[in-house]
Subunit: 492 residues, 2 copies
Amino acid sequence: MRLTAEPIDIGTRTPTVLLNSADASEIGVHPLDRVRIQFDGGTTTGIVEVTDELVSRGVLGVTRPLGHVTGPVDVVVADKPESVVHLREKLVGEELEIEELRTIVEDIERDRLNDVELSAFVSGVFANGLSREEMQSLTSCMVDVGETLEWEQAPIGDKHSIGGVAGNRVTPIVVAIVAAAGVPIPKTSSRAVTSAAGTADTLEVFCDVEFTLEEIREIVDRTNGCMVWGGSVDLSPVDDKIIRAETPLSIDPKGQIVASVLSKKKSAGSTHVVIDIPYGEGAKVETLSEAREIARDFNRVGQGLGMEIDCAITRGEQPVGRGVGPVLEARDVLAVLEGDGPDDLRIKSERLAQMLLDATGVEASAREILADGRAVEKFREIVDTQRGDPDVSVDDLVPGQHVAAYTADRDGMVTHVDNRRVNELARRAGAPKDIRAGVCLDCRVGERIQKGTELLTIHAQKESKLEQALSFAGANTPVRVLPEDEALVEQL
Amino acid sequence: MRLTAEPIDIGTRTPTVLLNSADASEIGVHPLDRVRIQFDGGTTTGIVEVTDELVSRGVLGVTRPLGHVTGPVDVVVADKPESVVHLREKLVGEELEIEELRTIVEDIERDRLNDVELSAFVSGVFANGLSREEMQSLTSCMVDVGETLEWEQAPIGDKHSIGGVAGNRVTPIVVAIVAAAGVPIPKTSSRAVTSAAGTADTLEVFCDVEFTLEEIREIVDRTNGCMVWGGSVDLSPVDDKIIRAETPLSIDPKGQIVASVLSKKKSAGSTHVVIDIPYGEGAKVETLSEAREIARDFNRVGQGLGMEIDCAITRGEQPVGRGVGPVLEARDVLAVLEGDGPDDLRIKSERLAQMLLDATGVEASAREILADGRAVEKFREIVDTQRGDPDVSVDDLVPGQHVAAYTADRDGMVTHVDNRRVNELARRAGAPKDIRAGVCLDCRVGERIQKGTELLTIHAQKESKLEQALSFAGANTPVRVLPEDEALVEQL
């Protein structure tokens, strides 16, 4: 059908075209079907949405991804992309070959799948899992569509936490220790999606985190480490797009986690990686057996890709450190580096750093490097190289001035501090956008407390956000306190 | 956050709001998250999309479903609807209780789920199936959110085909026979989604098919039958919305089929229903054992809902009748009613009508009613009541004037006529929008033919559509012809 393409100023993710419902019926397409568009300059494919009023008959409304399509066009029905066949196969539990996964990864990368299709892929992986061979294939395909870093020397270290634990800000400490020991560690981190702060958000309190691949190489060449935001480089562009479908469903399929993490590590040129797998009530992985299984997947799939992966299975049933939110976490990090700060954060960081040093065959003690000040010196050097203030002190990191306490409404024992609710509470207080907003933990699981004891301190930059946070806390029990005789036996 | 709501003229399905990316970050939401909007007049929920340019900072762009929201508004993060928890449970294979399914059905009915969530529900049902109890619960919930028809007398007959077979236009013939035998049959049908013609599209060749519930009741009171489009009445509104996610994925989960069909039948007040379950290569159900299983599901779930369901398991490995497309199918239907027409269409219609008459306990012979002209007389009476021409003849039904043959490219045997490809071929020729477009079958599975034999005749109303159809036929083998020695043994 002959139509005239006109721009519609909507920045859709996919190459969406709007058709008048009469034209859609004439062409024989429904919403989310595809059309082949022949225009002066080539041929392309559009995903159909139908409107009665926004575009008139005879007009093809093209959204921004198709902004180059203008003037008279010929529009006909197009087939679905081949990848749709394969994501349907995944939904019924079939194992996909690498070339089949490649069609899916490439179509996601080029935004050729609509939300229904993207969701079906994520759902299929969630419902039926991925075999190790599929994980390895998927990882390879994800690496192939992204940028890569290559290094002349080896080993190249790296670490990653699969997430889900609030305040778990070990990265800057591990990077500082490992880099100080002489092992290059080009660490990229993410920003918050559903948490109160991603590692990149916390690091940004100290210094810039957005750099090009070339700049990253220079920082690492100079300091042995870096602490940057992965989103500013395209190491695994498909990963971010998959998150669009995972976030609304609050799902994070195991096989997808492995492919997501290892694709970024492989693209970063890492040879030795320590993976932190927290487990427990309220963590992403709930049980020890599940944590062990995913650890084995990481080991084997990493091996298949030529990387040595060591997994640390850690306790994740409560947050790590005291602060949750960019500035509050940054305070903990700097305190630990200076020989102070929360014990759990220090011990966990030392242990992960030691595992990585051992794996790379470097004879060095993480504890000593932290204790004798080499780590904090390295940290300040990296901060300086990343255009931050190398002389920053804990006192410079000021939490939000609107403060309220969340207190216990009974005597008893703290039996659970819920990661998701603490994160959400800090978000309601304004984090991560308001960097000084967040939550400070004043209790730990197992503590005996009395009615009125402060359990959490909430910080906000705005009064209204503090109120939203308090209202969330009141309705959602971020900290569970049970009378001592019920702490062991809960009757349902 | 305080914003000013301004209308954006986009007719989205869901209550979408557009936020400037800076405001979205300030509120703490991502695309597809939800916000609670307090406006002068009440409180409502919006699904977030993020834009850099289409709306400025400080503005909340509201799409048409939220057109009533204007002026200053307060916008805060909202929780996901409860149904999202349950659709995730379905994805991991849990069995859902009726109240859990109800949250999903109600949220779909009110368009509260975005495409990612809707797709995850359909994917979960497809990947993990539904237990019979879930099917029954889902059906009840779907009935509860729709309109219903109630009748004073009983029995009330009905029939349904689960679809997938091109040209399978038994409905008008069955309705005419059963209504002539004195059993009320308030039949609603659908329009084409992916086929060349839905029953409603074919019936529209004869008469109007869009009526209100009150009009339907009058037509049935007068003639004992009706042949109307179900989409003009809200008997199962959720069903149409679920199709939005099924169509792009080309999936049609079994449990969903049962709930979809039975919800419409229950809402129509039917007491006795015959279900046509075609099976075979290229049909919706591929194997006999699968067909039997879905038949048992229909029986039991129908029983639980107080209906008697009888299933006919039929051969579906090739189209039924000769014509595929509204007018071409209408010709077959009228020809059979007048004692002529394709044998397979006549025999299948008689058999289904007889099953329904037997089930309702009415002593009557479907074959006799068809043979002695009572059926065609009833058909013309219903057509007349539905504002059509009661004197229509086959010669009045003229196929598209642009005609081309699709011929065999070798000697051999017809081993398969593919329903999906024949449907798609007829769609490329212009059906169902161009009602005279479509395909006539000139061969049947098992026929021995020679190179050059006409296998299909393609009709179109426009030359360009004929060319698109021919190009599709050339590339997609709608009819498989194999040399006789390969017809039995296919080497892969």
